[in-house]
């Protein structure tokens, strides 16, 4: 029996000492409250903007970049052929059962006045990506041109970024055993080519380009037509813009 404990034991073997119980309980509760308050203050700052404002001060934002990759999806031109899905799978050797690019389908309206609507979905390469700060090993990062990428040699495959993405754009690659997602075909962009999905889109619904260049195709499209992003309430500031997005469709397929 340790000295201190023995001293207490010698003081008496009475049963439940209510004064000590209350005193100890109060101290315990105050301690727990103090500890969790500290955690709460951190959580509060985190939740305030849907992400970590201070952390992101160290990253360049859209207007601070020389070049900012973005995509415009003109849903008026999308026919739901899913060629983008197949091209992405081929180009990036995406494993069976998961997708980096996929197309959701919904019947909008009430029978018999229903209309088929398609919504191509990707990683939104957000300006305020919630997947980046939560990565416990800093494997996912945002580049100076805005692309959100994964360092596959560092990723431990914990799945935290998959949980944090509000677009369901990330998945666990069971072959390389890390998180994975759309890279906007960064290897093609760096070679001066368009991403596979853009190059293959038969309706010309997908346009990729530099958002900070007023003469680029994406800037002209965004200047000419009203565009929306998915789940703006998440505060992620996505860089994928949809023209002709039906609010009912967005709610139906991204909830």
């Amino acid at each position: 029996m340790p000295g201190q404990a023995r001293g207490r034991a010698d003081a008496g073997d009475g049963g439940l000492n209510r004064r000590e119980f209350l005193k100890g309980g109060a101290t315990l509760l105050i301690g727990a409250a103090a500890g969790t308050s500290l955690l709460m203050s951190q959580a509060g700052s985190v939740l305030a903007q849907g992400s970590h404002a201070k952390y992101y001060d160290s990253f360049p934002r859209r207007h601070e970049m020389d070049h900012r990759w973005a995509m415009v999806i003109d849903l008026r031109r999308c026919v739901g052929c899913r060629a983008c899905t197949v091209a992405c799978k081929n180009e990036n050797n995406v494993q069976e059962g998961v997708f980096r690019t996929w197309v959701r389908y919904a019947e909008i309206g009430e029978y018999p006045q229903t209309r088929p609507r398609y919504l191509p979905l990707f990683c939104n390469h957000c300006d305020n990506p919630p997947c980046v700060p939560v990565c416990p090993v800093l494997a996912t990062y945002k580049r100076d041109d805005g692309l959100v990428l994964i360092d596959y040699d560092r990723c431990i495959g914990c799945g935290y970024c998959i949980q944090a993405c509000p677009y369901g754009a990330r998945y666990l690659n069971h072959e390389q055993r890390t998180a994975d997602k759309c890279t906007l075909c960064v290897h093609r962009l760096e070679a001066g080519q368009k991403p596979a999905c853009v190059a293959t889109c038969i309706g010309g619904a997908l346009t990729v380009g530099d958002l900070n260049d007023p003469a680029s195709d994406v800037s002209r499209l965004l200047a000419g037509y009203p565009a929306q992003t998915l789940r703006p309430e998440q505060g992620t500031d996505p860089m994928f813009f949809y023209i002709g997005l039906d609010g009912r469709l967005a709610r139906e397929v991204t909830r």
Partner: protein, 376 residues
């Protein structure tokens, strides 16, 4: 149909973390706060805290895609990812707990060292750190006991980081709840306390006559009070979230009335919180308090802690699967086998810990030393 990204291994990690934290709090109620009711539980509580503490990372090795890179977690601390807090918190906690155990068990270990031989003697020598005295036993270091115990207790309060891991994810409406850390801490303390009393009843009280000391433990108000507080917090959380945005409402109703309701509401909160609280309160009025009734309550608390965690984690992911897929809510065969294997490892660690550590009464060891000396 795909499996949950965070399934049984993550639940097991949270469960073991909670059990360790709760066991340490039970130990510290005597050692730190001097509450006599918990004195007979202290040794088994410390052992449970240490064993479950060692077990916390094991389910995660099976869960990580790249378990070989686990050390990255220890070197990448940053405030924005509560998961990266795990390294400093758990390592600091384990070091503090083990050092605290060295001070707490000092006299017992010295006695056991002199009474034992072979491998156990060598292991006890390692635990002692310093050379065991041959003459009269000196008292243990009071400041050492207090400082290490205090550090470990403070770190236990930060075990709520597990709730914060979920709480900072706005894309999962059910999880993005600022009271999660406190809820996780509470359910951990409750389950750890229940485990320790259950272990004590099984190892020390089985077949023994009822004593005032036992009655005091079984009539302790700590566990029913914490269970009641936890239930009240759940009610407040439900009422708050049920009137939140439609996305949050859908998630809450899925947990409250959907496929996960039997596990979370009925098993987790009903059988795992409300029923044991009532059983333990009923024991207050029985003379002597019934061991069977208390043991049933503690088992239900443990089952409930598992069901609450699984229900919340599975339901939180259900409404937002990646890549246009749908989730299967239940664990895979592989996950179940891994979970059983981890439980077997915990059982083995307990066997080793109980074999090495001098958790039995001091008198038995003194008799053993005396008989050895007489033989010599």
């Amino acid at each position: 149909m795909t499996n949950l990204e965070w399934g049984l291994p993550v639940v097991a990690k949270y469960l073991f973390g909670g059990l360790s934290a709760g066991a340490f709090v039970t130990y510290y109620l005597w050692q730190g706060f001097g509450m006599r009711t918990f004195r007979p539980l202290a040794k088994l509580a410390w052992i449970s805290a240490a064993v479950f503490g060692l077990a916390i990372p094991t389910p995660i090795f099976g869960h990580l895609g790249q378990p070989g890179r686990w050390s990255e977690l220890l070197t990448s601390f940053h405030w924005t990812s509560p998961m990266s807090w795990a390294g400093p918190i758990l390592i600091g906690y384990l070091i503090a707990v083990f050092l605290n155990g060295r001070f707490f068990f000092y006299r017992d270990v010295v006695l056991a060292y002199h009474a034992s031989k072979g491998l156990r003697r060598r292991l006890l020598r390692i635990i002692l750190l310093t050379k065991p005295p041959d003459g009269p036993l000196p008292p243990t270091s009071g400041p050492g006991l207090k400082v290490t115990g205090g550090i470990a207790f403070i770190l236990v309060l930060f075990f709520g980081y597990t709730g914060l891991e979920l709480g900072i994810i706005p894309s999962r409406p059910l999880w993005a709840n600022p009271i999660n850390p406190l809820m996780f801490l509470l359910t951990g303390i409750v389950s750890g306390m229940a485990w320790v009393v259950l272990l004590w009843l099984a190892l020390e009280r089985r077949g023994e006559a009822s004593t005032p000391e036992e009655a005091s433990v079984l009539r302790s108000l700590a566990l029913p009070a914490l269970l009641g507080f936890f239930l009240a917090m759940n009610a407040v959380a439900f009422l708050t979230l049920a009137y939140a945005s439609p996305g949050v409402q859908a998630s809450v109703m899925f947990l409250a009335t959907g496929e996960m309701a039997p596990m979370f509401v009925w098993v987790g909160l009903g059988a795992g919180v409300a029923v044991p609280a009532l059983l333990l309160v009923a024991n207050q009025f029985l003379t002597p308090p019934r061991r069977g009734l208390a043991a049933l309550a503690y088992v239900l608390v443990l089952v409930g802690a598992f069901a609450q965690k699984y229900g919340l984690i599975a339901a939180g992911q259900y409404l937002a699967p990646p890549g246009g897929q749908t989730y299967s809510l239940w664990p895979t065969t592989g996950e179940l086998i891994e979970f059983v294997a981890v439980c077997a490892l915990v059982f083995f660690l307990f066997q080793v810990a109980l074999w090495i550590s001098p958790w039995r009464r001091l008198g038995e060891m003194r008799e053993s030393v005396a008989s050895q000396e007489a033989t010599a």
